[in-house]
Symmetry: C2
Subunit: 408 residues, 2 copies
């Protein structure tokens, strides 16, 4: 018998029928003797409906009142799930964020959790009740309602699991877990049984659809075993743990990719200290997020600096750079919007030599030209022409035999 925290997102509680299916799932865990704490999001679409009402009243709604408004979404689903559980003969008690006392700072709409009081939840578990908590919300020390920002329910679940020292925190979603790559792109994409917190963070482009990065960081920090599973299909899902838990770590966990990027190259800048700042500074000052950055020394003593941004920011970035040409000075600025980024991610990379060369060989075998290479401890990324993206992902997936079952 163990204590499990389960989180169900908006699509898992989209209707009364969905909520009843969640109740059945929770009931099965109770029947096995587990203590269960459930964290719920609002019904899919409800948060948008409420936000639209606010928008009608005020273009930039007061953050304090916006939180009061949005917090009703989860309050509806927790009440309905408790009813559905009671209907199935299981005692259940709902709690809003304020009722648990999930204490946050006062940053409305993006509050950070400071402390979770586990007293009331533990008392209810002791009485044999399922505890159903509204995700996404908390309360300040002055009793004001706050929300944690989009996807904050994942964070609520992890915070509760940490405070309750739960045996596992299960995040139910509409996918079966974390895959070696996007199964819509590669037929052989395989569900990962384990990934480490670090891999999960680097797999963001795959993982973001599954789990909020903030929740992963939080879980890593408090060492909460996190499992991603499907609400709609049975299966073990993916367990996200510290490295030491995985006995035989495979070299590569997965192939991540980013399609909607653009590359800017500033050519012929002087090879002097501070030049990288002169190029990137004006861009990031305007709030544009810069991803990969590389600098190559050219033969003539001048340098080329390349970096990537989201494709939607490409034109604005080009304008900013063109205005900055005289002050750098630079010879010219080039924009390429037909690029994509492919990354290999795996903590095993640290101890396995030759991953990079194996990667480059696989891409060469398909005649794919690499424009930029960047590496971190557990990730190697390349920027390539966009039209080769699918080919590159499939080639790498196969070269590293990711379709084969995990060791251990």
């Amino acid at each position: 018998m163990s204590l499990i925290v389960q989180k169900y997102g908006g699509t898992s509680v989209a209707s009364v029928g969905h909520i009843e299916a969640v109740a059945d799932k929770v009931a099965r865990f109770r029947d096995k003797g587990h203590d269960v704490v459930v964290v719920l999001s609002a019904m899919a679409g409800e948060t948008n409906r409420l936000a639209a009402l606010a928008q009608e009243v005020m273009e930039q709604p007061t953050p304090r009142e916006m939180d009061v408004l949005l917090a009703t979404g989860e309050q509806v689903t927790i009440a309905l799930l408790c009813m559905a559980l009671e209907c199935r003969g299981h005692g259940a008690r709902s709690f809003t964020g304020g009722q648990v006392r999930i204490l946050t700072d006062a940053s409305h709409s993006r509050a950070r959790i400071r402390e979770v009081d586990s007293t009331r939840i533990l008392a209810q578990l002791e009485q044999g009740n399922v505890v159903v908590v509204a995700g996404f919300q908390g309360v300040t020390e002055h009793g004001c309602i706050t929300t944690l920002g989009r996807g904050g329910s994942d964070t609520t679940a992890v915070a509760l699991a940490a405070a309750l020292e739960a045996d596992e925190c299960q995040i139910y979603t509409d996918v079966k877990g974390v895959y070696t790559t996007d199964p819509r792109m590669v037929d052989g994409a395989r569900l990962l049984r384990h990934v480490t917190f670090e891999e999960m963070l680097e797999l963001a482009s795959l993982g973001a659809r599954v789990l909020q990065i903030r929740a992963v960081e939080f879980a890593g920090k408090y060492q909460v075993p996190l499992r991603v599973l499907s609400t709609f299909e049975e299966g073990p899902g993916t367990l996200i743990t510290l490295e030491e838990h995985a006995m035989e770590t495979p070299a590569i966990a997965g192939v991540a990719f980013e399609r909607d990027e653009a590359k800017l190259t500033v050519k012929g800048v002087p090879d002097i200290p501070g030049i990288a700042y002169k190029v990137i500074g004006p861009v990031s000052e305007r709030g544009i997020e810069v991803d990969v950055i590389v600098q190559n020394a050219a033969a003539d003593g001048n340098n080329d600096i390349s970096f990537t941004v989201k494709r939607g920011d490409a034109e604005r970035t080009l304008e900013i750079l063109q205005q900055a040409i005289p002050s750098m000075p630079a010879r010219t600025v080039e924009l390429d919007t037909h690029i994509a980024k492919v990354s290999l991610v795996g903590v095993g990379m640290r101890s396995h030599a030759g991953i990079a060369s194996r990667m480059f060989k696989a891409l060469a075998g398909e005649n794919i030209n690499i424009q930029i290479i960047t590496t971190s401890e557990i990730k190697i990324s390349v920027v390539i022409e966009e039209k080769y993206l699918e080919l590159a992902v499939r080639a790498l997936h196969s070269a590293f035999e990711l379709e084969k079952a995990e060791n251990g």
Copy 2:
């Protein structure tokens, strides 16, 4: 400068447009320098929508969770009104019942208010903010959300006005106030400028459309000056006060009536102690509400007992009585479903002689036969044939000159 508590019902906040109109109204009071505390209901229809969701999950929803669910309705409107006020340059802060700390007992769905903590509200008023409170809801000493039952927002408003020692509690509704009788029946029906709490209670049949009886009782007990006004039309409304406030109390405040009643007569019961209980007991034990009861001694030593019930309960009451005939014993039971009740109400009745005879004369003048007469200190009721109802109401309204302006 005074402190005013204003309550707006569901039809007054039915849409964003309505909420904005309420904000304009509140802003005008603020501009005059008044401190304003606003109590809101849920948007018209929202409570029913939520109740229907619960019904889908569970035929008899868990009362604790039903309250959690329903309490979201007012939480939405308070947030939206605060935004609308901020948009108009007025500081505003919303509070749920739990946040104010409107402490109630634990009777979910029909909780009674025990105590109101005015600390947080007073602090906000001092900072120059409008305070917007969710009506209809409170919290138990253990922090569970409760609701006060349908129309409970009136009670919230009165309780806040009492706790804050407000100068006036204004109940905004979709009628202009309390009339001398139903204006849909009598053209000359006049808006009352003043009624007493007692009159308001006795005028229930007119007043129920306007104001919850429970709130009137509460206001009377704590001597909160209560005013009923229209959200949609300007006007002074009706002020409900203690008797001494009205300088020259008119004899009659209004003519109330009840259309959907039925009369049952139990004939030939023995004239012995306990017989009234033998007749009424079995009926009220089944939860049927009995209104007027009269007993007449007949010449033969036997008695007739007549009473009225809601028309919908008539057939069931007849059955109960027929089964009880042997045990009373009674000769026979008669049912008349074509009756109605007309009442004159006024605290002035106490000090004015001849009201009853003037009433009977007016009815006689129209050839209306009186079947039953009952009297209380400030009310005289007669039961008559239903087809004469409109005629009787108009005759009495005119006989007591209710269409003329109030004295004082």
